[in-house]
Amino acid sequence: MTLIAEAEAETRTAPPRRSRRPLGDAGVYLAALVVAVALLWAVAPNLFTSADPLAVQPALRFRPPSADHWFGTDQLGRDLYTRVVYGARASLTGAGVAVALAVLVGAILGTVAGWFGGVTDSVIGRAIDVVLSIPGFLFAITIVVLLGFGVLQAAVAVGLTSSATFARLIRSEVLKARSSNYVEAAITSGASTFAILRRHVLPNSFTATLALITVQFGIAIIWIASLSFLGLGAQPPQPEWGLLVSDGRNYIASRGWLTLWPGLTVVAVVLATNHLSHHLGRRRTP
């Protein structure tokens, strides 16, 4: 009886109110700030530095970080800070293109699979499984090799690879919405399939997708930088974060700043996007 009574009492207590964590909120603001600065670098790099990222000054080779050269200079005397700021454009555009492509392909495949079900779902579902079973980075390298080298090609490769993750998520969200009473009510209201997808199913899948978008954005930055590091993405002398790390690698023992600063930038931006994503995901689940 006490067992029953306790179970009963438990179902009646109000859900605990989420405690406000000032530190957690501060973390979110900091993460948002980091991402905002990185985005501004990409959009308007000349606001942050007046130097030219490609200007070679042999006299200033290998200067360690100082007031004039915040991140130091590289083997050709180019200002590293300027190159990191300008590198944001290639890295972030690449990541943006990759995620946009992934969302687009994933939304189409996921919606079609989730909504129509049956054979369509089985075919798309198995294809997703196959893609997910291949190590993602290996798959991306394969695609880059097929497409040729460059930031855009790297972005397309990363985008296609991660579209499987989006397709799977959106498929499950569409399935959930499809069996919901409000979609049924829309059907009985006379709405066409297309209208139901556009008005009910996709908007209601968006919150979940947004959390994944932020995670994937961070992953895309790492992958594109990694492809560039391997020489498959951005080509010299274009500034790009992965390529900067790769360039600095030859001098890693004596001039560590050449790898340290671009590397830290990538880490900061990726951690920030992950933190934002975690925050969005937490807000979504009540």
């Binding site: 006490t2 067992l3 029953i4 009963e8 207590t13 409000y182 009985t188 209201s189 009910h200």
Partner: protein
């Protein structure tokens, strides 16, 4: 000696704004062997009162003032240990929801045995013997097998019997039954209530029956306490309270009971056939949900399909509205054979056939406000427009539909989550009416609502039918409601229509044994009809 005395009881819940009282100065007495029914609508404080007596208030609940006396003990002054000793042995609870009140991973017999372990000195074998006895008392036949079964293997009614067995295991003097039958079918409800009655007659246990159903209270209690907004507004012997209610709220409740609502005049003229169903069958896997049913619905009438859960009535409604396709048979709606139609082919028909769901809130897109919800059918049949033009173009018709459902125009800007259950159902009705359809399928439209709200919705539905000449297909498990609203009725059981005909004939002269059973199970029938 009075068994239970509740005196000036005030109970509150601690919230963000401090302690809010939800039960105000409630006083009543229960003598041994008596049944006191606490009646009220949701939020009236009846459950909180029952739980305060047991000392089972949630962690944020607190008795603020007053006394609860059980025999010669002050329950409000008792320690936690003293209460524990009393609970189960002297006072026990039959909880509201049998679905969540049993431990899913232990056999039900062991859970009943727990009570004996706590409150008796019986040894293992004797305890088991006693559980078998209790199971026999609550009407189980194969008691040894039942003992070993898990909750998921039992139906809702059977689980409720297990909980009753646990409640009576230690021969308590007082049972608090908190909505013991609210989720159960009418015939099962009758069995469970009969069982409680029988136990009371046998052992002289007093019962506090917390219920929202005045019919159940009228049938089963000696005393009735009517609660509203946390106050006991009227209390007295059952026959007196039902027969000559004094408080206006009690009068309203009594008048809201469906069997009290005026029945519609018999033999209203009916028009041509709008829905014709022939030999309809729907099979899900190996389960036949609808089995060769045939009926027809005529223009302007209310045709009710009544049955218990799993009888196939909702599946029939879904086939009529094109949400599910029939396995075989023919369904003709307004001259179109819908069994042959694809979802796209059904669309033109939706102008004329609309549905109101049981649970309105879940049938609204969580992102939509009331305007969007009601507008949706209009959008489906209007040419595509820019959003700013569209809203203006549809505004008049949306507001007219809201007005028809007796909702003020400013509700259009609100979100369904801000509305009460009755208001939400009115929004759903407005959505169904906005296209001015011919046929409206009502799938249990009032079963989730409080009685007085349900009565208002029924009145609204009737008025709309008279004004607009609507044809209703009314799906319900509640015979009292069906009698109040329908012209003709079909009784469904296990996918078959066992009986159909004009509502007077079916109710006054039922032919099928199952119909008789259903009619018998209507709570509060005799007293309420007799009191008219």
């Amino acid at each position: 000696m009075t068994l239970l005395t509740v005196d000036d009881l005030t109970v509150g819940y601690r919230g963000p704004n401090g302690l809010t009282p939800v039960v105000h100065q409630v006083s009543f007495e229960v003598e041994p062997g008596q049944v006191l029914a606490l009646v009220g609508e949701s939020g009236s404080g009846k459950t909180t009162t029952g739980h305060a007596v047991l000392g089972l208030l949630p962690a944020n609940g607190q008795v603020i003032g007053g006394r609860i006396r059980f025999r010669d003990q002050e329950l409000t002054e008792l320690s936690a240990k003293g209460r524990r000793d009393l609970r189960g042995r002297a006072v026990s609870l039959i909880p509201q929801d049998p679905g969540v009140s049993l431990d899913p991973v232990r056999p039900v017999g062991a859970q009943v045995e727990d009570v004996l372990l706590l409150h008796t000195d019986l040894d293992r074998a004797a305890r088991r013997e006693r559980v078998h006895e209790l199971f026999e008392q609550v009407g189980f036949t194969d008691v040894e097998r039942r003992y070993r079964q898990y909750p998921h293997e039992l139906s809702g009614g059977m689980r409720q019997r297990v909980l009753i067995a646990a409640a009576i295991a230690a021969d308590p003097e007082l049972i608090i039954a908190d909505e013991p039958t609210s989720g159960l079918d009418a015939t099962v409800q009758k069995q469970v209530l009969d069982l409680i009655d029988e136990l009371r007659a046998r052992s002289g246990t007093a019962v506090v029956l917390v219920t929202h159903d005045l019919g159940v209270a009228a049938d089963r209690s000696d005393l009735i306490g009517v609660m509203q907004g946390g106050r006991l507004v009227e209390a007295g012997p059952t026959a007196r309270v039902i027969g000559t209610p004094e408080h206006p709220y009690t009068r309203k409740l009594v008048e809201s009971v469906p069997s009290r609502i005026d029945r519609r005049p018999a033999g209203r003229p009916s028009g041509d056939t709008v829905i014709e169903v022939r030999d309809l069958t729907k099979v899900f896997g190996r389960h036949t949900a609808v089995d060769h049913t045939s009926f027809e619905v005529r223009r302007g009438e209310t045709f009710s399909i009544v049955g218990e859960s799993g009888s196939g009535k909702s599946t029939t409604a879904r086939i009529l509205t094109g949400l599910t396709r029939a396995t075989s048979g023919r369904v003709t709606v307004l001259g179109a054979d819908v069994t042959a139609l694809s979802r796209r082919g059904f669309r033109p028909l939706r102008r004329d056939v609309q549905i109101v769901h049981q649970n309105p809130y879940s049938s609204f897109d969580p992102r939509f406000d009331v305007f969007d919800v009601v507008e949706e059918p209009l959008r489906a049949f209007a040419p595509a427009r820019w959003p700013w033009k569209r809203r203006a173009a549809h505004e008049d018709r949306v507001l007219a539909a809201l007005e028809a459902a007796a909702l003020p125009a400013d509700f259009a800007e609100r979100h369904p989550r801000e509305l009460s259950g009755g208001q939400r159902q009115r929004v759903a009705i407005a959505r169904a009416l906005v296209l001015e359809p011919t046929v409206v399928v009502l799938d249990e439209p009032i079963s989730a609502l409080d009685v007085s709200v349900a009565a208002q919705i029924l009145a609204l539905l009737r008025r709309l039918q008279e004004d607009r000449g609507l044809t209703y297909v009314f799906i319900s498990h509640d015979l009292a409601v069906v009698r109040a609203i329908s012209d003709r009725v079909a009784v469904m059981s296990n996918g078959r229509i066992v009986e159909q005909g004009p509502v007077q004939d079916v109710f006054s002269n039922p032919q099928h044994e199952y119909t008789v059973q259903l009619l018998d199970a209507i709570a509060g029938r005799d007293l309420l009809v007799g009191a008219r």
